[in-house]
Structures are given as structure tokens and as C-alpha cells.
Amino acid sequence: MLNHLAILPVLLPLIGAPACAMLRHSLAAWLFACAVTVLTFTCSVALLAATWQQGVIVYEMGGWPAPWGIEYRIDLLNALVLLLVSGMGMAVMLGGKASIWREIPEARRPLFFVAFLLCLAGLMGITATGDAFNVFVFLEISSLSTYALVATGSDRRALVAAFNYLVMGTIGATFILIGIGFIYMLTGTLNMVDLAERLPAVGQSRTAFAAFAFIVVGLCLKLALFPLHMWLPGAYTRAPSMVTVFLAATATKVALYALIRFSYSVFQMDFSILALSLEGVFIALGVIAVFGGSLVAIYEPDLKRGLAYSSVAQVGYMAIGMGIGTAAGLQASIIHLFNHALMKGTVFMALAAMILQLGSSRFENLRGVGRSMPLVSACFLLGGLSLIGVPGTAGFISKWYLVVAAAGREQWLLVFLVLAGSLLTAVYVWRVVETAWLAPAAADSPSQGRLRTPAGMLAVLLVLALSNVYFGLDARLPVETAGGAAASLIRVTP
């Protein structure tokens, strides 16, 4: 069992999905999916612990040694992302029953869980694998199931959103495939470690540059980095609430992970970031994303869509961290990857609880929700404060490391921009606070009385919200893991 620990977090949901398809009853399918996600999460925790103790864990698929077989390499970085993805998958399954029951028709529910498990398997696979082509395969698994998940949204506009996402996502995946094809052509291998060894010899060729460009653009599409973010707001807004929680917390994070992996492990930093001067590109796009995304979020009449634009902005921070181009910057980026999942998981989960009762996430429907759903609103506020980066929350740790990293490169303007961005965040978070607590509820709104939230959802929401505070006051897990990961990624090229 322990020998196979590295593969279990991917294998469990991957096998669980077809097994789930045989269950025709929604409740049974839900229980099964819950069991799978809990097991997956348990394995991920064990895996991270094992990585801390033993260093890199290598697993050869089917017993075939590396250049021929597919190899799974678990280091600190992907162990952390695996933990994050499986944890959010578990949270969504455990807390999402009421919301799924409300938004997904009875007949489609078992298949919904199948698609969800497939998506989870895809994301976990991208993270765990050490094989470039395998990344593409899992990327397609997760993407295809995501399109299906988005399309299950109760609103017919979900179909349009899913279609947009499909077109953009397919372009992205194709780009990645082309890039991987090019480097295979150059080096004759798909194993990441092998690639890293052989690429420097051929690194100056035009093919290598083209390959890297294709991969970066493809991944930035999945990451929704400005200006490739167009699919994200629609998909997040129209998807069922629980799908939004899961996607917001994990999908872009996995894309960022893959981007880091390709830029720092497969290609190496002095080639990928420095020679192509991607530094400036990432910082510029990141800054535009932070300001553009936040400004749109401030004026958006629908909170769910506003938070989707906020995700675009937050991706900008991660890009800035990468663009700083030092171990400290990379560490900040990885820390924010982790913390942003917590924040967005919290606010979208709270919003899902509100939508469950109020039927809409438009601001006029949210008036007075602070009085009718005090606990849920308080959790939203905690998540929001974390987004702003108030000290004592996880978001503060992200900001802290990002500013320290920028100061380390003496980029004072960037420091100012990063902090000014969090003021914009404060504006759109405070708009929600004023609507929820100060505005009187409309006469026919359910918010006139007390509204009850299902216990399971509330429990998960509370855990998520409090984790924002916990990781704001004891940030050793993300900080040290990210620090170790960043150091090992940068050290490859002394």
C-alpha cells in the first residue's frame, strides 16, 4: 500500500468515476463520491508527510523504468497542490449536497458525480505526473469533464459559457500538445527529468523557443491570465455553485502549477524566464490583471460574476510572483496559490449558501442577507478580509511575501501597485458588506426572516473560513513547503 502511495491520489478518483457511473441512485452516488474524495484527501496528506520525510518520491507506472514507462515524481510542490485539490474536492462533496440537489435535476445527478470525480482525477493527474505527455492527457480529462460540469448549470446560458470555455480550452490544450510535440521532436523523450537534462543542449534552437512559447500560452489560457481570461467569468458565473467553488479553488491553481513546472523544471529558469525576458511580461500582465479584474469586480451587478473577475485579479498576483524571478518571488506565488484557494473556496461556498436560499447572487437580492444569514455572511466576510489581506488572515501572508520579494529586487513601484491592488479588493468586498448589513431587505425578499443553512454546508463553510484565520496565524505549512519547493526549483540552475 505504502509503496503505491504516490499513485493513489490519482488512481482513486480515476477508478471511482466509472464505478460511480454504475450507481443509478443519486444519494448512493453522492455517498460514494464523498468516500472517494475523503480517501483521496487522506492519501494526499500522507503523501505530503512522506515527502517531507523522504524527499522526492518516484513511482514507476507498471514497473517500467523512467524513459520508457511513465514516471510519477512527487516533490514538495506537487504534494502541496495535491493536498489542496483533494481537500477542496472533499469540501465540495461533503458540504455541497443541498446545493447540488437544488441545482442539478434528479436524472443527471449520478452523472454529475461521475464528471466531478473525473475532473478531480484529471487535476490530480496533471499535478502528480512526471511525464510531459501525461500532463496533456490528464489536462484533457479534466477539461472535458469541466465543460460537462459547467454545462449542467440550471441557466441555459450555462451552455454558452461551457461552449466558450470549450473553444478556448481546446485551443489551449492544442497549443500545449504542439509544444510538447516540438520538444519531443528535439529530444526524443517525454520524461520531465530527461527533458531537463537534454534541453539545454538544444535550448538555443528556434524550435525550443517555439515549443516553450506554445506551452506558456496554452497554460496561460488555462490559468486565465489576462488577456486570456475571457472564458473564466462566464464559466464561473453560469456553472452550478458547487462547480464554481471547486473550479475557483483548484483549476487555475493546477494550471499555475503546470506553468511553474514547465518553466522551472522542464525548461530552466535562465532559459525560460530570463532569456525570453518573460519577467517583464508576467509582471506587466499580472499588474493589468490585478487592476482590470478588480475594477470590473467593483462595478459588477452580480456578485458571483464579480468574484470571478476577482479571481482574474488574484491570478495576476500569482503571475507577478513568478515574474519577480527569484526564489522569494516563486515562493510568494506558491503561497498565494495555496491561500487564494482557501479564500475563494470560502467566499464562493458562502455565496452558494446564499444562492441556495435567495435563488440569485445579484446585489439587489443580497440586501439584508447579513441579518437573515448571519453566520454565512460572517464567513463570507472572513474570506473577504483574507482577500483584502488584513493581518491575521491567510491573505496577509501572501501579500507579505509578495512585497518582501518585490523589495528584494528593489522594485518599489511594484510594491506600491501590489498594495494599491488590495485597496481595490477592499472596495468590492466592502460593497458586499454594505449590501449585506446596511441595506434593508426588499419587502418580498426571503431575507425578511431568519434563513437556515443546511448543517453540512455550514460546517464545511465554517472550517474553510476558519482555515483562513488559522493559516494567517500559523502559516508554517504553506510557507515552508513553498519555500522548500521554490528553493529546489531554482537550485536546478545555479
Binding site: 478580509l385 483584502i388 489581506g389 488584513v390 493581518p391 491575521g392 501572508i397 501579500k399 507579505w400 511575501y401 512585497v403 518582501v404 523589495a407 528584494g408 510594491v415 506600491f416 498594495l419 494599491a420 488590495s422 485597496l423 477592499a426 466592502w430 454594505e434 448589513w437 446596511l438 494567517g472 496565524l473 500559523d474 502559516a475 508554517r476 510557507v479 515552508e480 519555500g483
Partner: protein
């Protein structure tokens, strides 16, 4: 009790009080009893901490590391002990006052009011006992957020607009200036702990120090240095007890207290004296204290006038720090105490006038001395304390601040202090004088004859704080002794 436990008590009482207040939300009398009990216990705890400090004991507590090298730290030093004593004593008085005011004025949502009031005081305790800049910043920010519900208490559009200005300025300054200043300090000095004599190495880049000082002074928006003072008048939409305790004592004093601590324990006054931007900021403080006085003269709304007067008085404290001489620091520390008692009395009086006579404008107050003699007499004494005249405590702090300006050789600032005091007489002391002796030639008999004062709890509170002003004049000794114990490093 161990040092850590005592500090935890000081910080933990407020959350416990919040819990009690929320549980008793249906029963007003026990609910207010909880507030009073909490305030009394907190005062007791702070007295105990003060005694331990006097006995020479070192009280500190440190959490596990949050991120490598950074942890929550609590430590007691003379300034913090002084600030915590003032805040908790005045909390007790204000709760008494608030019971009379909130009921007399028929305010809604009183449970929410008392809950966030307790939370704010809890944060103030955190600021007072913070052992490093990070801890101070944490409580500073939470204090901004937890006072917002109090500012927008009325829920009207005006309150909401005031709340936006309030939070907008306080958050922007703290995020754009204060936070990066903290991070740069950490980055260059490697520590954020408050250390006697300062944390910067002797060869620190002078340009960076200059920039950092400016960022700290502007970043601590609660110190209301111009041009970032607009939040304080905006906060006056809050109910009067909030204006009295939070926006004359707790919140604004948390601001100047932070500046004082940064000056003494992060820079150290010797380093501070050599920072290039100090002089510019010093004169800006001088400008703020004059300009705010001039603006205050033009305000007809009583609370707005008091708010601008507070802006002016806060600049005294900042100025005292920036003088970077021992008497300046002593004067600043004293002024925190003296102004607290004086200004809270003035706000209490303003609230009493609102409750009893429903008047908010200064021009309506003529002749009111006949109707509310007690309130107006208290107003007179408190305004003398703000001006800095005997027999009130304010004279001592002004004395030391003037000494400080002379010691630093800044005669222009001495003149500014004198001028501002004269202006204070015009716009504060003249109010009660006109209330007692009508100079407008209006008919004597038109004046109301019968006495109609505010509810008894309000009067009680006013009496206590006014007595405080007088006692501080007669017995400034303990305060002075406490402040001379501030470790000034090389000095």
C-alpha cells in the same frame, strides 16, 4: 498569576464580554451590567499589570512563529501601561455614560453597539501591549474594521458615506504606507520587536530611513496628520459615546501611541534626530495643529468643531515625538493622558446637550448655561484643559511640549503652540462663556429658567472625567515618574 496569563486576561476580557452581551441581547439591564463588569475587571487587570511593571517585573509573551522569524509578541512597557490604564478607565466611565445616552436618545441595535464597543476596546488593549510592529499592525487594522459598525450605527445614507470615508482613509493609509514601511523595516533591520534605542543598524541607508519615517507618520492614519485627517470629522456621524471614547481617546490615541512607539522603539530618539525627513514632518505637524484649529473655528456643528480640535491636539503628540528630545517624548506621553480626559469630557457634554436640549450647533448654545449649568461648567473646565491652563491637567503636557520645542531650538514651533492655544480659547472656551453670559444682547427673560440636565448616568460620567482633569493638575507626579521610565536608549 504568570505574566502571560495576565496579558491574556487583558486581551481576553473583551471577547468574553462580547459573548455575554450577545447572549443577553434580550435583556438590556444584565447586558449593560456585563459591559460594566468587563470594564471594571479590565481596569483591575491593567492596574495589576501596572503594579508589576512598577515592581520592575518584565511582562512579555511570545507566540509560536507565524512565518519564520515573525511571531505575535506582547510586552508591557511604560507607554503601553499608561495607554491601557487610560483606555480601560475611560471605557468604564463611557459605559455608564452610554447607558444614559443610548436609552435617553432611544437608539436602535444597542446589542450590536455594545458588542463592537467591547471588540474595539479589546483591540486597543492589543495595540497597547503589542511587543512588535506586526502585532501592533494586526490589532491596529482590526480596530479600524471593528469601529466601522459603530460609525455607521445610524444606518442612514449620511452614516454610510461617513463610514466609507472613515474606512477608506484608514485602510488606504495603512495598506499603502504603514504596511510597506513595516515590511521594509523587517527587510532591512531583520526584526520588528520594539527595542529601546531602535532597531536600525548604525549604517542604515539614510534615504531609506527618511522615507520610512514619512511612511510611518502618514501610514498611521489614526494619528490624523494632514492631509489624511478627513476620516475623523467623517466619523462624527457615530453616536456620541463612540465619538467620545473611540474618536477622542481609544482610536486616535492608538494612532499617536503607535507613532510614539515607532519613534522611541523602532527608530530610537537618537537615530530619529538624524533622520533627514524629520524636520519637514515636524513643521507639517506644526502646520496641522494650526490649520486644524483654524478650520475648527469655522465649524458651527459642535461635534465637528471638537473633531477638528482633536486633529489639532493629535498633531501636538506627533510633534512631541518628532522633536526627538526627552522632554518632547514626556510631553507627548502626558498629552495622550491629558487630552484624553479633556476631550472625552467635551464630547460627553456635547452628547448631554443633544439628549437634554436637542441642540447640535454651537450658535444655538447661547444662554444654555441656565438650563444645563453642570454640563456647561464641566465644558468650561475641560476646555481649559485643552487650552492648557491651570487648574487643569492640560497645562503640564503643554509645558513639557513647549520645553521640548525650546530644547530642540525650534522657536517657530513654540510660537505655533502658543498661537494654537490662543485659538483654542476662542473656539472652545468661548462656548461655555457665551452659554453663561449672553453677549448677544438678547432679552434676558427669553432665557429658559428651569434646569433640565441630561440623564443621571451621563452627569455621573461627566463628573468623573472633569474631576480627572483637575486631579491630573494636582497630582501629575505618578504620570511623570512613569514616563521618565521609558527607556530612551542612549539618552
Amino acid at each position: 498569576m504568570s505574566a502571560g496569563a495576565l496579558l491574556f486576561c487583558a486581551l481576553g476580557i473583551a471577547p468574553l464580554a462580547m459573548l455575554g452581551i450577545l447572549l443577553l441581547r434580550k435583556r438590556p439591564n444584565p447586558r449593560e451590567a456585563v459591559s460594566m463588569l468587563a470594564a471594571a475587571v479590565l481596569l483591575g487587570v491593567n492596574c495589576a499589570i501596572f503594579r508589576r511593571l512598577e515592581a520592575g517585573e518584565i511582562l512579555r509573551w511570545e507566540s509560536a512563529e507565524i512565518v519564520p522569524g515573525l511571531s505575535l509578541e506582547l510586552a508591557v512597557e511604560p507607554l503601553g501601561a499608561l495607554f491601557s490604564l487610560i483606555a480601560s478607565f475611560l471605557w468604564l466611565v463611557t459605559v455608564v455614560y452610554a447607558v444614559g445616552y443610548m436609552r435617553g436618545h432611544g437608539e436602535d441595535n444597542q446589542t450590536r453597539f455594545y458588542t463592537f464597543f467591547a471588540l474595539s476596546i479589546g483591540c486597543v488593549m492589543g495595540v497597547a501591549f503589542a511587543g512588535n510592529l506586526f502585532t501592533l499592525f494586526l490589532f491596529y487594522e482590526v480596530l479600524s474594521l471593528s469601529t466601522w459598525p459603530l460609525v455607521v450605527h445610524a444606518g442612514t445614507d449620511k452614516a454610510r458615506a461617513g463610514g466609507r470615508v472613515y474606512l477608506g482613509i484608514l485602510l488606504s493609509t495603512s495598506i499603502v504606507f504603514f504596511l510597506p514601511a513595516i515590511i521594509f523595516t523587517w527587510w532591512s533591520a531583520g526584526t520588528l520587536s520594539f527595542t529601546p534605542g531602535g532597531v536600525f543598524p548604525a549604517d542604515a541607508d539614510p534615504i531609506m530611513l527618511a522615507a520610512l519615517l514619512a511612511m510611518f507618520v502618514f501610514g498611521v492614519g489614526k494619528a490624523a496628520m494632514m492631509p489624511f485627517h478627513r476620516w475623523l470629522p467623517a466619523a462624527m456621524v457615530a453616536p456620541t459615546p463612540v465619538s467620545a471614547l473611540l474618536h477622542a481617546v481609544a482610536v486616535v490615541k492608538a494612532g499617536v501611541f503607535s507613532v510614539l512607539k515607532i519613534g522611541v522603539y523602532i527608530f530610537g530618539i537618537d537615530t530619529l534626530a538624524d533622520v533627514q525627513s524629520r524636520e519637514v514632518l515636524l513643521y507639517l505637524a506644526g502646520f496641522t495643529l494650526l490649520a486644524a484649529s483654524i478650520v475648527a473655528m469655522q465649524q458651527d456643528n459642535l461635534k465637528a468643531r471638537l473633531a477638528y480640535s482633536t486633529v489639532s491636539q493629535l498633531a501636538y503628540v506627533t510633534l512631541g515625538v518628532l522633536l526627538a528630545v526627552p522632554d518632547g517624548v514626556t510631553g507627548s506621553g502626558m498629552h495622550i493622558a491629558m487630552h484624553a480626559f479633556g476631550k472625552i469630557t467635551l464630547f460627553f457634554c456635547a452628547g448631554a446637550i443633544l439628549v437634554a436640549a436637542h441642540k447640535t450647533e454651537v450658535s444655538e448654545l447661547r444662554g444654555l448655561g441656565r438650563q444645563m449649568p453642570f454640563t456647561m461648567a464641566a465644558f468650561l473646565l475641560a476646555s481649559l484643559s485643552i487650552v492648557g491652563l491651570p487648574p487643569t491637567g492640560g497645562s503640564w503636557s503643554k509645558w513639557f511640549l513647549m520645553l521640548g520645542t525650546l530644547e530642540a531650538g525650534a522657536l517657530a514651533l513654540t510660537a505655533a503652540l502658543v498661537l494654537s492655544s490662543l485659538l483654542n480659547i476662542v473656539y472652545l472656551t468661548m462656548i461655555p462663556v457665551r452659554a453663561f453670559w449672553r453677549f448677544d444682547g438678547a432679552a434676558e427673560q427669553a432665557a429658559p429658567r428651569e434646569i433640565r440636565e441630561a440623564p443621571l448616568p451621563c452627569l455621573l460620567a461627566i463628573g468623573v472625567t472633569t474631576t480627572g482633569c483637575l486631579l491630573l493638575f494636582l497630582f501629575p507626579e505618578p504620570l511623570y515618574t512613569l514616563l521618565t521610565r521609558i527607556p530612551l536608549g542612549g539618552g
